[in-house]
């Protein structure tokens, strides 16, 4: 047997590891600031840039793409080389991956506070950044496939399959969901509208969770858990079944984010069935991980790496039991829009992703720097403080979610809403928001301790950039291999098959939505937004109002009583993008138009507590002074026409501005009626008010288009 000597690249692993720690601290600090703002709105520091609506996407992008993303690359770049007994295919590609990815994150950290956002959750970044993401992801994928092709190990370990599935799926998801028409350097409109846009977005959103927060980390679990425990995974067979079942089920589960919305029934049921089935492979994977440690629990007690890993895998089990539960329509009718979702998210994010990343970091640092962990005691402190942080985060959120969900639905014996004032249901749960901030502080404190410990570890050792390794040279590939072993020795074919698998899943879900494009019953009275409303809607997007307000009245009596007629899919045909929202920190706004006078909105936006004492909504004084960007109008109207909104040709060349000015004057006149006499007609607030007053009013003009309403309304 001939052997060959080569070197693993540890430099790239170190770079991603350091970035993971730094971005983790930044992202969690942003989360904590957001958490504090929810009981103390003044914590926005009077700055539009870090007001909740803009801070929330900054937090989610920083933790998901920066913290979890760098952590994923760190683990993949380390384990892939060793599983394949080969250095990465190209050092240059590795570094383009690193600097490109982190430049994108810096781009996000600049553009999101400035209000450049598409408003689509986890896909907020505007089109230039979208293009950059695509390029960097292609670089990563090429590097991955290249390494697989030049490997010295014949078989692909199951972790590598998870990495391949991740690379391919994220690429497809990102591209399909980001199809948009630019209307300026940092502004675009998606080619989809309304129901379609929502379906594509949550097909993406769910699979971003599945293929960014889950599959790569399952791969990492299958590598680092056996590695740290120094024993093979409990059942390799089970890991294969886990893999196929998971990727095949996940891709269909997206509609569980849209239950009881205006999405067609069949899609909702499909999402529900597949989500419930997901519990099986997920728990298979969890048990496979935990059983790997059978008979080695004494090690778990001593080794912080295993401690974090066990807690992470357990949290994965909890989140994947809870997730399918939340996908059951009746449970979702209570949980959706409440803090229950937030609790679910963070038990997954803090417990599963966070802890598995810490586990990897504690394992990697001593090895990268050829030394021992600085302090096992501090690592244990980190573990317990982090765990306590998760408890203090999750439990109050479940409490808040259930409490508020029930309050929204509570009727008096006479058939009136028990809490007709939405605000009452908010003030009830504000104490829970305070507790959550304590939980977040603890978790962040743990991370700071961890960062210190890792830093000291690195200082005490000597970094070894290139680690020498030896492998047996493989003889010429055998012919006649059969079954999966054959597929697995043909990684390109395997990649193609995975792609086909996820494309079929996506197509089955999305194609019918294309078909109904022409079949969504057009409601004759639903008209495109006026120019002033277009600009107002863009402000609604810029300020991230969708982070706290839904525009989707579900067909329950409790909602139609509170908000008005339930939402119809035909109402959204001009909504590029859709703004249904996924969390109701404030009330639904779809039927907002005409509910209050213009002056009410003016006062409310300037200082929400002047009209609604006790409200936790932040003030938006800058809307009253900033000038409306009417210069942007032509490009926006043109882009909207391109995506299918029927503005007449040439409309933007003069007519649109005249219409805008006329409507602005009307708003100013209305404001004067409410004794606001000094409002300049060219400020942003005017546009926003025009948009808010338009919301949901078109359908009211319709001569009872909704005859079967009464029959269709469900009373859960």
């Amino acid at each position: 047997m001939k052997t060959e000597t080569f070197h693993y690249d540890n430099r790239i692993v170190r770079a991603f590891a350091i970035a993971t720690v730094i971005w983790g601290l930044v992202g969690m600090a942003a989360g904590l600031l957001a958490a504090v703002q929810l009981f103390w709105p003044e914590a926005n520091l009077q700055l539009q840039y870090v007001t909740f609506g803009r801070l929330r996407p900054l937090h989610t992008n920083a933790v998901i793409f920066a913290f979890v993303g760098n952590g994923m690359f760190m683990g993949v770049y380390y384990s892939l080389q060793r599983l394949l007994k080969a250095r990465m295919y190209s050092d240059r590609l590795s570094w383009i991956n690193f600097w490109g990815w982190n430049a994108i994150i810096v781009g996000a950290a600049i553009t999101l506070p400035l209000g450049f956002t598409t408003s689509k959750e986890y896909a907020e970044l505007e089109w230039p950044v979208d293009v950059a993401i695509t390029l960097v992801w292609v670089v990563f994928t090429l590097n991955l496939i290249g390494t697989i092709l030049k490997r010295r190990e014949r078989h692909l370990y199951v972790a590598v399959w998870f990495y391949i599935a991740t690379a391919v799926t994220v690429a497809v998801l990102h591209v399909v969901n980001s199809l948009e028409v630019p209307a300026g350097a940092f502004k675009s409109y998606p080619i989809y509208a309304g129901v379609q846009d929502a379906l594509v977005q949550w097909w993406y959103g769910h699979n971003a969770v599945a293929f960014f927060l889950t599959t790569p980390f399952l791969g990492l679990m299958y590598y680092f858990l056996p590695k740290a425990a120094q024993r093979p995974v409990f059942s390799y067979r089970l890991s294969i079944i886990h893999f196929w079942a998971l990727i095949f089920l996940y891709i269909w589960a997206g509609p569980h984010h849209l239950l009881y919305t205006a999405l067609p029934d069949w899609a909702q049921s499909l999402g529900m069935v597949f989500s419930v089935m997901l519990v099986a492979p997920s728990w298979g994977g969890m048990l496979n991980g935990l059983l790997t440690l059978r008979g080695a629990w004494d090690k778990v007690r001593q080794d912080p790496v295993l401690k974090f890993m066990v807690a992470a895998v357990t949290a994965y089990g909890m989140a994947t039991l809870e997730g399918p539960m939340l996908s059951i329509k009746s449970v979702n009718s209570l949980s959706h829009y409440t803090d229950w979702t937030i609790g679910h998210v963070h038990s997954g994010a803090l417990g599963w992703n966070g802890f598995i990343i810490f586990s990897m970091l504690y394992w990697l640092f001593p090895r990268l720097w050829n030394t021992r962990l600085h302090s096992v005691r501090l690592a244990n402190w980190h573990f317990w403080i982090g765990l306590l942080g998760i408890m203090f985060y999750a439990i109050p959120m479940y409490w808040a979610g259930v409490t508020q969900g029930l309050m929204w639905k509570q009727f008096t014996p006479d058939g009136f809403l028990q809490y007709p004032n939405f605000l009452e249901t908010v003030t009830q749960i504000v104490p829970m928001y305070r507790l959550r901030a304590i939980g977040g502080s603890l978790y962040l404190l743990g991370t700071v301790i961890g960062a210190y410990n890792l830093w000291r570890t690195a200082k005490s050792g000597v970094f070894e950039p290139d680690v020498e390794a030896r492998a047996v040279i493989q003889d010429a590939p055998r012919q006649a291999e059969h079954g999966h072993r054959w597929i697995e020795s043909k990684p390109v074919l395997f990649t193609a098959l995975t792609t086909v698998a996820i494309l079929i899943g996506g197509a089955v879900e999305i194609v019918p939505m294309y078909l109904i494009r022409t079949n969504v019953p057009t409601i004759a009275s639903v008209k495109p937004y006026t120019p002033l409303e277009v600009l107002g809607r863009d402000l609604y997007i810029r300020e991230g109002c969708v982070g706290c307000h839904s525009q989707m009245v579900r067909p329950f009596r409790s909602e139609t009583e509170r908000y008005g007629d339930y939402s119809k899919s035909g109402e959204f045909v001009f909504d590029h993008p859709f703004l249904w929202g996924s969390k109701r920190t404030g009330p639904d706004l779809q039927r907002q138009g005409g509910k209050y006078p213009d002056a009410w909105h003016y006062n409310h936006m300037e200082d929400p507590r002047s009209t609604s004492p006790g409200s936790i909504m932040p003030p938006y004084p800058w809307l009253l002074t900033r000038k409306l960007d009417t210069n942007a109008l032509p490009a926006r109207i043109a882009a909207l026409r391109k995506v299918g909104v029927p503005y007449p040709p040439g409309y933007e060349l003069g007519e649109a501005q005249a219409a805008l000015a006329a409507q602005a004057r009307a708003v100013v006149a209305n404001l004067a009626l409410g004794s606001i006499t000094n409002a300049p007609p060219d400020t942003e607030i005017i546009g926003l008010i025009a948009y808010l007053q338009r919301l949901g009013t078109d359908i009211k003009a319709a001569p009872s288009a909704a005859a079967p309403v009464a029959a269709a309304i469900a009373t859960p």
Partner: protein, 66 residues
């Protein structure tokens, strides 16, 4: 509730049926294939993470099975 929306394209329920059938087929295939594998192969594959060919001993004390 919005079932009327889709009444225009015939047999849309078919998509649900297709999905389930595809899933069941693939899943059964993977299951059967996996169960048919030789235990010795499965065991050796399971050991892959433990043998990375690194030539240095870690102070943390990894034992490499090679």
């Amino acid at each position: 509730m919005i079932r009327n929306v889709l009444s225009d394209i015939g047999g849309v329920g078919l998509y649900g049926v297709i999905s389930i059938c595809l899933f069941v087929t693939v899943f059964t295939g993977a299951l059967v294939w996996t169960l048919l594998q030789r235990p010795s192969l499965m065991a050796s594959l399971g050991h892959l993470p433990l043998a990375d060919g690194e030539r240095r001993r870690n102070p943390e004390g990894d034992s490499h099975h090679e």
